[in-house]
Amino acid sequence: MTTLLEVNDIETYIGQYHILQGVSFQVKKGEVTVLLGRNGAGKTTSLRSIMGLNPIQDGRINFNGEDISKLATYHIANRGIGFVPEDQGIFGELTVEENMKIAMQKQDDATLARLDKILTLFPDLKTYWKKQGGYLSGGQKQMLSIARAYLNKNELLLIDEPSKGLAPIVVEKVMESIMEMKDETTIVLVEQNFRMAMGVGDTYYIIDDGRSVDTGNMKELADNEELKRKYLGIA
């Protein structure tokens, strides 16, 4: 399996704080790679660094063999990397329709087919099609955020804690949508909900104190109680 994304020993500062102090991981094409770790370990910063939102000070990020470390965010997005941020990034004053339209890079048949598929999966978005994004519930906002990312044929999707603060029924929906996306794109997922991570993930990387400390197959991690207790706080 070919490597789509290669993150090599990246270091990122936010203000005076040295957040990432050597994070490395590889993402294979067609897989779901899960970044795990406690709160504040550096998972979200890793995704933001890949997108250029928190530029790296050291290290290298290769996407499809090209060094994207120094590129501006919009160039990185246009290379085919979609991002679903932790805070959903919904444009509150735009309607659901406008939020979707703005994310649409093309309006071809394939995109419209994906739109139909995602609206079947998230019928709430259809119901509130003309409603402003700011008036949606937390779950609906997350659905919209994922739907926007799914619309375009991105080669890689970075999804940050999609289940955070959602009701179990919505988490199921979100998980279902990620499974759908998995067939078409490669995913890097940051997730605290271990059950969800287990359900969708192929490979895991554990990040602790701004460093990647362990990697392996998700199934192996399920049986490794010591690792789970040490780095994830799961008893």
């Binding site: 501006a72 919009y74 997005a77 649409m104 419209l112 259809k126 008036y135």
Partner: protein
Amino acid sequence: MLTQIFILAIFAMSYDLLLGYTGIVSFGHAMFFGIGAYSTGVLLSRFEPTLLWLIVSMAVGMVIAAIVSYFVGLLTLRLSNHFYAMLTLALAGLFLVVAEKWRSLTLGNDGFTFRVPDIMRDRLSFYLICLLLMVAVFFLLMRLTNSPMGKVLVAVRENEARTQSLGFKTIHYKLISSVVAGVIASVAGSLYVMSLRFVNTSVFALDVTLDALLMTILGGVGTLIGPIIGAAIIEVSHHWLTELGKFYAIFERWIIFFGILYILAVMFFPKGIVGSLREIRWKRKPSKVKTKNKNKRIAG
């Protein structure tokens, strides 16, 4: 008074494009108003006050405003909002100082009078021209803000980083907004000095920008119709308070009342008149749609 309302409404709408749609807080918008004002004043005072020279003077103002706003934007729009606001304030101050010192052209703060074409001397025709221009600017900006580009401007205002991560080079959109707003402000400046047939350095003053800010906030930011309402309220209040000043001395200090109004509007009415009404409507609207023609609408 209605003519003044129309002119100030044009100016306030241009400010709304910056503040309401793109989220750019500028304290130097008077700079473009002043450029339009001086272009018209200087050219009409030095050449024959014909319709041709009037059009040329307005066009010159628009071109200079476009160039200045482009370069000011290029230099400043990459900065965070606070620094941008401070820098535009400094640049507007610079223009004011240049206008004060360049006495051979501007006669400094004393200013100068000039003649205007006959069609502009007739009150009714000038009123109608201002009304027409206000309506034209309104529809032009309405079209711009309802276009896909306008939606990107709103997205930039709400979350610039997120807009970039959707693949948009946001600085381009901010520059377009800044140039369009600058050009429209220069048109308002040209009309304003034509209504007075006099121009002095007060057109570059901070008060001019603050008036636009107050009109926009009071009427409702990001609504376009709001700044027109705001301009009407401010202009009518100004007129009444000045009249009342003849009977009660306190009303001679009408600017104090505007200051209080500004504080109250920001504290209790941040979305302004139109913004608040729209919010009530959005909250009520369930906006369920049939899905049958959904794809058509998206593609259209």
